[in-house]
């Protein structure tokens, strides 16, 4: 059934919504970025008495969950609420947007409900709602239902690259003419299982998250959701839509070196970055800012840093995970929105907690404070377990 059409349409971003430790909505997020706010705090959702790492970027339930007036709403996972907030913001900006499909990334869906279910087995009472609301597609379906959107939910679980893979695939599908309107993004909520998982791998840190710093010692986790409304550019223009920016390139690669570690030569990330820039019809020197994956683990930053060094000459780089932690399946989507904000407001988001440059990484890190800048294209990277690598290029409107 495939026609392999050569359609290459432009893809507009006509709506964006975000919920993260940086704040609710584009405005709060931008303010946090421009003031270099450290949004990492002690973990409250579960005991961290026996873990090495004690902190994470978290979203306050008091704001996230609101009043939840009816019984059904109270059963939903908090990740559903993250997506509802993000989708509400998308639709406030683009009220006529009706996606044909939602392509959304996550790594663990409603994992904490699965944890609750397990803990209550063999004693106590299990809530059927935990089972029904745990699976990873459910949170997206909840958000779609909330706003009366009757579109299928295609959930991509490519580990920490999920959000970028979702946006990238959505972009490619609109550009190729498969769809005209796609809702895309990513989400993840903090859970004990995943927190302990990174802790036992010693990938998370006991101190501050310092991406690309000589003294970096690992990541902190985060959570959140971000969504983008993608539309065929010409269609958006013809209906007078407010175009926030464009997605112009996407690259994906698989690094088979190891299930949790990138090839130290940086070849996996490099292939994704090269492909994204080539897909955009650009040269590396067209890129004015890189929002790096930058987890602050020794191995990730070394591999990503090498790829950036090999391809670019002094482009400003920052990892905004330093401010809000690594939100896994949400990270790529949140960082796409951050890159979009940077393009729209012409600033470079900061890489906080940066003290000493790594002598092995000659990078132009946007250290500790946001900077004003003029640039037309931004690159956002996401790399994950299983060797999943993804990069996207965004353009200023």
């Amino acid at each position: 059934m495939n026609s392999r059409t050569k359609t290459q349409r432009r893809v507009a971003i006509v709506g964006a919504g975000i919920v993260s430790p940086l704040g609710f909505g584009l405005r709060e997020t931008s303010q946090s970025l421009q003031t270099a706010k450290d949004c990492v705090s002690p973990v409250e959702a579960f005991s961290v008495e026996k873990t090495r790492c004690k902190t994470a970027g978290q979203i306050a339930d008091s704001v996230l969950l609101g009043t939840r007036p009816n019984r059904r709403d109270r059963r939903l996972h908090r990740a559903s609420y993250m997506l509802m907030h993000a989708l509400d913001e998308v639709l406030c900006r683009a009220p006529q947007f009706r996606p044909e499909i939602a392509i959304v990334g996550t790594t663990s869906g409603g994992m904490s409900f699965g944890e609750n279910f397990y803990r209550r087995l063999g004693g106590g009472e299990c809530a059927a709602a935990w089972i029904a609301n745990y699976p990873p597609q459910k949170q997206v379906v909840d958000a779609l239902e909330k706003f009366g959107i009757d579109a299928p939910a295609q959930i991509i679980a490519n580990a920490c690259a999920s959000g970028t893979n979702a946006i990238g695939h959505a972009f490619a599908s609109v550009r190729g003419g498969r769809y005209d309107h796609v809702l895309t993004g990513g989400y993840d909520a903090l859970s004990e299982l995943v927190f302990v998982g990174f802790d036992c791998l010693q990938a998370s840190t006991m101190e501050k998250c310092r991406p690309f710093d000589a003294g970096r010692s690992g990541m902190v986790l985060g959570e959140g959701a971000a969504l983008l409304a993608l539309e065929d550019f010409d269609s958006a223009v013809s209906r007078g839509a407010d175009i926030l920016g464009e997605v112009v390139g996407y690259g994906i690669s698989t690094d088979n070196h190891h299930i949790t570690q990138p090839n130290p030569d940086g070849s996996g990330p490099r292939r994704a970055i090269e492909q994204a820039i080539d897909d955009a019809g650009l040269r590396p020197d067209s890129i004015g800012y890189i929002n790096a994956h930058g987890t602050a683990t020794v191995f990730n930053d070394a591999a990503e840093g090498k790829a950036i060094m090999q391809m670019f000459n002094g482009v400003p780089v920052s990892s905004t995970k330093s401010m809000m932690g690594h939100s896994l399946g949400a990270a790529g989507a949140i960082e796409a929105v951050i890159t979009l904000l940077a393009l729209r407001e012409q600033f470079l988001p900061p890489n906080i907690n940066f003290r000493h440059a790594d002598p092995g990484l000659k990078l132009n890190v946007v250290a500790n404070e946001a900077q004003k800048a003029q640039f037309a294209y931004g690159l956002s990277n996401s790399f994950g377990f299983g060797g999943a690598n993804a990069s996207i290029v965004l353009a200023k409107a």
């Binding site: 059927a128 009757d150 088979n256």
Partner: protein, 348 residues
């Protein structure tokens, strides 16, 4: 195409058994925590015996082994071998590596975070099976893992079809995989969806199953063509399922469709599908013989559809089918549904 099922692993040998009316053996799985018993279908050990030795699979969970057997089998079965540098990998998963996930979390609950195993955690990630197969095949390009309920296979096939739009990709290896574990069984039991362990012959309630199915989609001409994939929709109430399935079937088109490979599993899905299918279309449920493997189920259904087209026969039904197209429906337990239409090369 290739599969690993509780009835074995050869496409033709399992098909013959289905035509004979065979059903997979039912085993009783006991939950060590709760004492509850569940009826399940397991993949027999000999079905994975030809799996090549690979360091990636040394510690991998059953789901990764099933996926590897099916994926490698589908490539071996292809008349035209694809250039793996231009081949994408797409996985359909529902519960994923749940055996290791349960073990990993059990250690945390029992002994605290310091007891958590760094060897288990990476295998709990949804894309671990895809990662292992990509490493075995040295695929360095696109790899996606799609998660969802029993309809996830449709959404994965849709993604693969969209990928084939790219001039850089000539083939997509689509793999659906699942493994049985007591934790998932208990969840379905508490959701009141499982077959009563005291009534194995009953038609009410699903029997969880495991295994994998894989198909190689190519842009080049093949024996069968997926003429349409409908990524479907979500049903917000079970009572909506039949009406929404009917809309999907209408979009797929019922002209020249003589058979539908449904996803009925002994739950509300049976009623929904029966109400949605036009009278002239025969409805066959492979899950009655193979159980419900959730993530793998649509891939199994697609293989069954191809075999129906090839042989003109439908298991458990007398007579032969006229040439035409076969519909495959994916209706999950948790709000997702979609479908596709498969036709043979001469019927496009």
């Amino acid at each position: 195409m290739s599969w690993v099922t509780p009835l074995g692993s050869g496409v033709d040998s399992v098909w013959e058994r289905l035509l004979e009316g065979a059903s997979a053996e039912i085993e009783v799985l006991e939950n060590g925590q709760t004492g509850a018993r569940y009826l399940v279908h397991r993949v027999p050990p000999e079905a994975t015996k030809n799996l090549p030795v690979n360091p990636r699979l040394r510690r991998a969970s059953a789901i990764s082994r099933f996926a590897a057997v099916a994926g490698l089998g589908a490539l071996a079965d292809a008349k035209e071998k694809p250039d793996l540098a231009r081949t994408a990998l797409v996985f359909a998963i529902s519960n994923g590596g749940v055996i290791y996930t349960r073990r990993f979390f059990a250690e945390i609950v029992k002994s605290g975070a310091p007891a958590a195993s760094p060897l288990l955690f990476p295998e709990t990630v949804f894309n671990a099976p895809a990662s292992h197969l990509a490493a075995i095949l040295a695929i360095e390009g696109a790899s996606y893992t799609v998660v969802g309920d029993g309809a996830v296979g449709i959404l994965a096939l849709k993604l693969a079809d969209d990928l084939l739009e790219s001039p850089e990709i000539d083939a997509c290896l689509v793999v659906g995989a699942e493994e049985v574990d007591s934790l998932v069984c208990e969840a379905y039991r508490q959701w009141r969806l499982l077959r009563d362990p005291e009534k194995p012959a009953s038609k009410r309630g699903l029997i969880p199953s495991e295994g994998a199915g894989a198909v190689l989609l190519q842009t080049a001409r093949g024996d069968y063509e997926i003429s349409r994939i409908d990524a479907g929709t979500n049903f917000f109430r079970r009572s909506e399922a039949g009406v929404k399935l009917r809309r999907i079937i209408d979009r797929l088109g019922t002209e020249r469709a003589s058979c539908c490979i449904g996803s009925g599993n002994g739950t509300f899905i049976d009623t929904a599908e029966k109400s949605a299918i036009p009278e002239h279309v025969r409805l066959y449920y492979p899950k009655a013989a193979l159980g419900d493997s959730i993530g793998a189920s649509v891939l199994w259904q697609l293989i069954v559809a191809a075999q129906v087209l090839r042989t003109g026969r439908v298991p458990t039904m007398a007579g032969s089918l006229p040439p035409g197209k076969v519909l495959v429906l994916g209706c999950g337990l948790n709000q997702q549904m979609g479908g596709l239409a498969l036709c043979s090369d001469g019927e496009k």
